[in-house]
Amino acid sequence: MKPAFLLPGLMLKDLLNLRPMGKTLLLMFFIFGIIFIPMGNIMTVYFLLMIFAALLPMTSLSMDDLAKWDRYALTMPVTRQEIVRSKYLLMLVFFVIAFLVSGTIAAVMMYLDPSNATPLWFMLLVAALGIFYGACLIPLLYKFGSEKARYLMFVLMIAAGVFLVGWFALFGESFTGDLLPFVLTLDAASIAAVVASYFVSVRIYEKKEF
C-alpha cells in the first residue's frame, strides 16, 4: 500500500485544470511584456503578474463549482479543511512564482539600465495588494459561490486600482526612506489577512452543503 498524498492530489487537480488558462495568461504576459517593458513601464507588468496569481485560484474555484467537484471530493478520503488548505497553498504557490518572476525582471532591468531600475518597495507593495486581494476573495467565493462573487471580484479590483492611484497621488513614484517600513507593514498585514482568511474560509466551508 502506497501512502496517499492528499494535498498534492487536490493541487494537481487544480494545476491540470488551469493548464488552458495558464497558457492564455502566459501568452498575455509575453504580449504585455513586449509592449510595456521596452516602454519602461515595468510596474504594469508586476501588477499584471500579481493579478494573474490571484486570478488563477479563483478560476479553479469557479471550475470546481461548474463541475460540482466539491460534492465528489467530499466522498473521497479528504477532510473539508484539507480541501480549503489546498486552495490557499495553490494561491501561495502562484504568488511566490509571480514574485520570483517580478524579481527576475527587476534584476535584469537593473543590470541593463540601472538608472531606471524598479524600486524594491514597489514590488513589495504590489505583492501586498495582490495577496490581500486573494485573501479577501477566497472566503467570498466560498460564501457566495463563483457566480455572485464574480461581481465582488471586480469591485475589489477597482478598489485595489483606486488604492494604487491614491498611493501615487500621495507619495509619488519616488522612493523615500520612510516608505519601506510602511510597505513592509502592509506586507505583514497582508500575510496576516491570508491567515485570518484561511480560518474564515474553513469555517464557511465546514458549514457548506453541496
Binding site: 500500500m1 502506497k2 501512502p3 496517499a4 498524498f5 492528499l6 498534492p8 492530489g9 487536490l10 494537481l12 487537480k13 491540470l16 485544470n17 493548464r19 488552458p20 471550475m63 470546481d64 461548474l66 463541475a67 460540482k68 467537484w69 460534492r71 465528489y72 467530499l74 466522498t75 473521497m76 478520503p77 479528504v78 477532510t79 458549514k207 452543503e209 453541496f210
Partner: protein, 286 residues
C-alpha cells in the same frame, strides 16, 4: 452476515423538504435498490449519509463503523458515483488517474486502465468530448479502481440507453461476486433494479415506506382491483396505499396470501417494482 450500511433515524431538515427518520440496513454481499420518484429524497439521503449535507439527526454506520468518528477510513473504502460526472471537462481520463492516484492509497492504475479499455474510453480525449454514457462509465471506472468495498451510486443509469445500462449493470454484478462487497443503487428505472437488486428500499416524500428483500416483497405484496363500494366495505388493516380512478380502486396489500384466504372472490394481481413505486407515489395512504 454483517451490514455494509446501517442508517438509523436519519433526519435532514430543509425549508421546503425534510428527510424523516430514514432507516435501512444493507447486508454485505448484496445490492440494494433505492427507489423513489424524482424529489422523493434519494439524493438527499445519500448526501446526508456521506456528510456532504449535514444531518439534523440520526446515525450512519458503514462497515460497522460510526461515520462521524471514522470518516476518512470509511471514505477510503467506498466508491461513489453521482448522476452527473464530477470530473472537470478540461481533464482527460489519464489526468483523472494522476489525481486519484495521489488521493487514494489503494489506487490501482493497471485496473483503471483495464476498465478504460473494457469501456472503450480513450485515455487522452478530453472529458468534454465524451458522451453522457462515456462520462458515466468513466465515473464508474474511477469509483472501482481503488478497490472499494462499497459502491454508492446515485442514479448512475438515468439518461443512458439500454445497451450502456446493461453493460453497467454487468459490472455491478461482477463487483458483487465478492461477498465482502455491497452496492447501494438509487434509481427510478425500476427495470434495472428488477435485474440486479437483492433488497429494495422505497422512499417517498422523505420517508422510507418499505425496505425488504426483493423476493419477499414481490411475494408478499399484491394489488387488489375492486369497486369503490367493495373497497369501502373491506377491513383496511392490511392495506398500504390506494388509488382511485373512473373504473374503481387499486389497493396495495401488505400480505396478499392472507388476503386471498379471507377474500377468495376478489382479484389480487402480483406486484412489480414499478407498480409498488407508482402505488406509493400516486396513491394515498390508507
Amino acid at each position: 452476515m454483517s451490514d455494509a450500511i446501517c442508517v438509523e433515524k436519519l433526519c435532514k431538515q430543509y425549508p421546503d423538504f425534510s428527510l424523516q427518520d430514514v432507516s435501512f440496513c444493507l447486508p454485505k454481499g448484496s445490492i440494494m435498490g433505492f427507489i423513489g420518484e424524482n424529489g422523493a429524497g434519494k439524493t438527499t439521503t445519500i448526501k446526508t449519509m456521506l456528510g456532504i449535507a449535514k444531518k439534523t439527526g440520526g446515525s450512519v454506520k458503514l462497515f460497522g463503523l460510526d461515520f462521524a468518528d471514522h470518516e476518512k477510513e470509511i471514505k477510503s473504502r467506498i466508491g461513489v458515483v453521482f448522476d452527473e460526472c464530477s470530473f472537470h471537462d478540461t481533464l482527460t481520463a489519464a489526468d483523472v488517474a494522476k489525481i486519484l492516484g495521489k488521493i487514494y492509497a489503494d489506487w490501482d492504475d493497471p485496473l483503471y486502465l483495464r476498465y478504460l479499455r473494457q469501456f472503450g474510453l480513450p485515455e487522452k480525449k478530453k472529458i468534454k468530448e465524451y458522451s453522457r454514457g462515456m462520462k458515466m462509465k468513466l465515473s464508474i471506472a474511477a469509483a472501482l479502481s481503488h478497490h472499494p468495498d462499497l459502491l454508492i451510486l446515485d442514479e448512475p443509469t438515468s439518461g443512458l440507453d439500454p445497451v450502456v445500462r446493461e453493460e453497467i449493470l454487468d459490472i455491478f454484478l461482477e463487483f458483487i461476486q465478492d461477498e465482502e462487497h455491497a452496492i447501494l443503487l438509487s434509481s427510478h428505472i425500476t427495470s434495472d433494479l428488477d435485474k440486479i437488486a437483492d433488497y429494495l428500499t422505497f422512499i417517498h416524500e422523505g420517508k422510507i415506506v418499505l425496505s425488504k428483500s426483493k423476493d419477499e416483497l414481490l411475494e408478499d405484496l399484491g394489488i387488489l382491483k375492486c369497486s369503490r363500494e367493495e373497497f369501502d366495505a373491506l377491513d383496511k388493516k392490511s392495506f398500504l396505499t390506494c388509488r382511485t380512478n373512473q373504473f374503481g380502486c387499486e389497493v396495495l396489500i401488505k400480505d396478499k396470501k392472507e388476503f386471498i384466504v379471507r377474500h377468495p372472490e376478489m382479484i389480487v394481481d402480483p406486484v412489480s417494482t414499478e407498480s409498488v413505486m407508482l402505488m406509493y407515489a400516486r396513491g394515498t395512504a390508507v
